[in-house]
């Protein structure tokens, strides 16, 4: 059997916390702060549009790039909101979530052995997907810089001659956002050293403290950037699987070649619903955003008070606290908390091997749940003889 599976796939590291995931999924009545998706259901007008499209008989393929009206809608939206101009004909591709777009982007860019910079902690797929495409991921540890990619740190990796970098902000799992000034400095370095930028901005609508700056809006960045976004987080549409990639037409054309052979097109029902999301506008998005921000003001001070040191995330819906002061490792902490208090969180190791002292806590859960979870975490720590994060 071993010879059956390709070497590349054999070499892929299975997620180290798969077992923990199975443990969570096997338990009932858990307060889950382990979820990477909004706790809202898709707004009704969007769901209704999906249902209506089925009633009307929209059950066919669409063009490979996606419904023209959806691409046009995205193009207009980006222009009106960010003054970002992408042609719906040649520079936008509708993908199966941002996940597919990351895969297409990397496969389009990478020649065997090409190096791809990935600041960590990062979303789980970037490294493995880069490897599958024949690339070599080079991880930039941002722990010492409060999980921010600094120009100084970036410069330390230039001698490796990377071909591209994958940015993700607001960041899963830390909630870090970058200001325009920070991004401009990073952009200058990328342009100077000819490093292409893939930017995953799927949480872009969830920036709480300052305006989100899409990377391609920076001076000179547009033709050096593949901008990825989607409907999952903004419109609570994770299960619909609709994302999009915008970039220079040569890159989009190349990605479309792979997409047409592997995926063909995104499910038409999902595309119709996504179009409605653009029409329905931003009201539900703004409501959700305010709700997340309120929860953030509860959970972050709450965790810090318990001694789980945590930076204030500026976006997304994640906190990334350290469990170092408890004397426990993340997996031990997460397993104990799950078994004893029925609260699920994700051990930091999922997002980078060197994050065994961290947890990702998602606050995409109701305010009541978060309050209860904080009480349970405190009780758990007390039982373990840990108070205020210091072992007695």
């Amino acid at each position: 059997m071993k010879n059956l599976i390709s070497k590349k796939v054999q070499e892929m590291q299975p997620s180290g916390i798969r077992k923990f995931f199975d443990l969570v999924l096997g338990m009932k009545e858990v307060i889950s702060l382990g979820v990477g998706e909004p706790d809202f259901v898709t707004p009704w007008s969007i769901r209704e549009a999906g249902i209506y499209s089925l009633e009307e008989g929209f059950t066919s393929y669409t063009s490979n790039k996606g419904l023209y009206k959806l691409r046009l809608g995205i193009s207009r939206y980006l222009e009106s909101r960010h003054n970002l101009k992408y042609s719906p004909d040649e520079e936008i591709l509708i993908t199966v979530g941002v996940s597919e777009a990351v895969d297409l982007g990397l496969r389009t860019l990478i020649n065997p052995g090409d190096k791809i910079l990935i600041p960590v902690p990062s979303y789980v797929s970037y490294g493995p997907v880069a490897e599958l495409a024949g690339g070599v991921p080079i991880y930039i540890d941002t722990k010492e810089d409060n999980f921010r990619l600094t120009p100084k740190r970036l410069k330390q990796y230039l001698h490796k001659k990377p071909k591209a970098i994958i940015l993700n902000y607001p960041t899963n799992p830390t909630g870090v956002c970058y200001t325009k000034k920070e991004l401009s400095e990073i952009n200058k370095i990328l342009l100077k050293h000819n490093i292409f930028c893939i930017t995953d901005e799927v949480y872009g609508d969830l920036s709480y403290d300052f305006e989100h700056t899409p990377f391609p809006t920076l001076p000179g960045a547009r033709n050096n950037t593949l901008y990825l976004n989607g409907f999952s987080k903004s419109y609570a549409m994770t299960g619909w699987r609709v994302g999009f990639a915008c970039g220079p037409k040569e890159v989009i054309a190349a990605m479309t070649k792979i997409h047409q052979y592997t995926i063909m097109c995104v499910a038409i029902t999902s595309q119709m619903a996504a179009y409605e999301a653009l029409i329905t506008g931003r009201k539900p998005v703004e409501e959700m955003k305010r709700e997340y921000r309120r929860r953030r003001e509860l959970i972050i001070p709450g965790l810090n008070k318990l001694g789980l040191d945590c930076i204030m995330p500026e976006g997304a819906f994640y906190a990334f606290p350290s469990v170092k002061r408890t004397g426990m490792k993340a997996l031990e902490f997460a397993e104990g908390l799950l078994k004893e208090e029925k609260v699920a969180v994700v051990p930091g190791t999922a997002f980078g091997a060197s994050y065994a002292d961290y947890l990702r806590i998602s606050y995409a859960s109701s305010y009541e749940n978060l309050k209860e979870a904080l009480i349970r975490i405190e009780r758990f720590l007390t039982k373990k003889g840990v108070s205020n994060g210091k072992k007695d």
Binding site: F21, V24, L25, M27, V30, S32, G34, V35, G36, E37, D39, V41, Y123, V124, S125, N172, R290, R294, R295, E297, L298, P301, A344, V346, A350, Y367
Partner: protein, 161 residues
């Protein structure tokens, strides 16, 4: 709308401290803002939304929407006659509406007869009332933005990236 109002409209039991924490404001300033809203009549009342259908021993209660056609009075328009009508305790809501009818009432009573009697004996005989149409409510699906159905289970899987 002020976020304080938005929060209270969803959960009027949210405490001042909690609202202050959510909005990163001082509890004192939240308290003052709420007081001001109360004084100005922006906040009129704090109440629970109750699903009567689930209360087994509740006195059976019927509600009716009643459309009322009225003859406006000189100088006073509809207001004077509306006041005479909405002052009846049986009338729980009263709106002036456009269209075929002038007033829309929500009337509550312990049974059909009580409501019918109210219409026949109190409402219809009023001098300026020209006609009424009574619609009894059969089932309540949604009220004040709340869907009256058991909360659905969360369909998300408990853990994901």
């Amino acid at each position: 709308m002020d976020e304080i109002l938005e929060i209270l409209e969803k959960d009027c039991r949210a405490s001042t401290e909690e609202i202050a924490r959510m909005l990163k404001k001082k509890p004192e300033s939240v308290k003052q803002a709420i007081k001001k809203y109360e004084k100005e009549g922006v906040i009129l009342k704090y109440k629970a939304v109750i699903n009567n259908e689930l209360i087994k021993d509740a006195d059976a209660e019927v509600r009716a929407l009643i459309e009322v056609n009225i003859l406006p009075q000189k100088d006073l328009g509809f207001d004077r006659i509306a006041e005479r009508i909405y002052s009846f305790p049986e009338v729980s809501s009263c709106y002036l509406i456009s269209g075929t009818y002038d007033l829309l009432l929500i009337v509550e009573g312990k049974d059909l007869h009580t409501v019918a009697r109210f219409v026949a004996e109190k409402l219809a005989p009023l001098e300026h009332v020209r006609g009424t149409a009574t619609h009894f409510l059969l089932k309540k699906y949604k009220e004040d933005g709340v869907i009256l159905k058991h909360k659905e289970e969360n369909k998300r899987i408990a853990i994901s990236y």
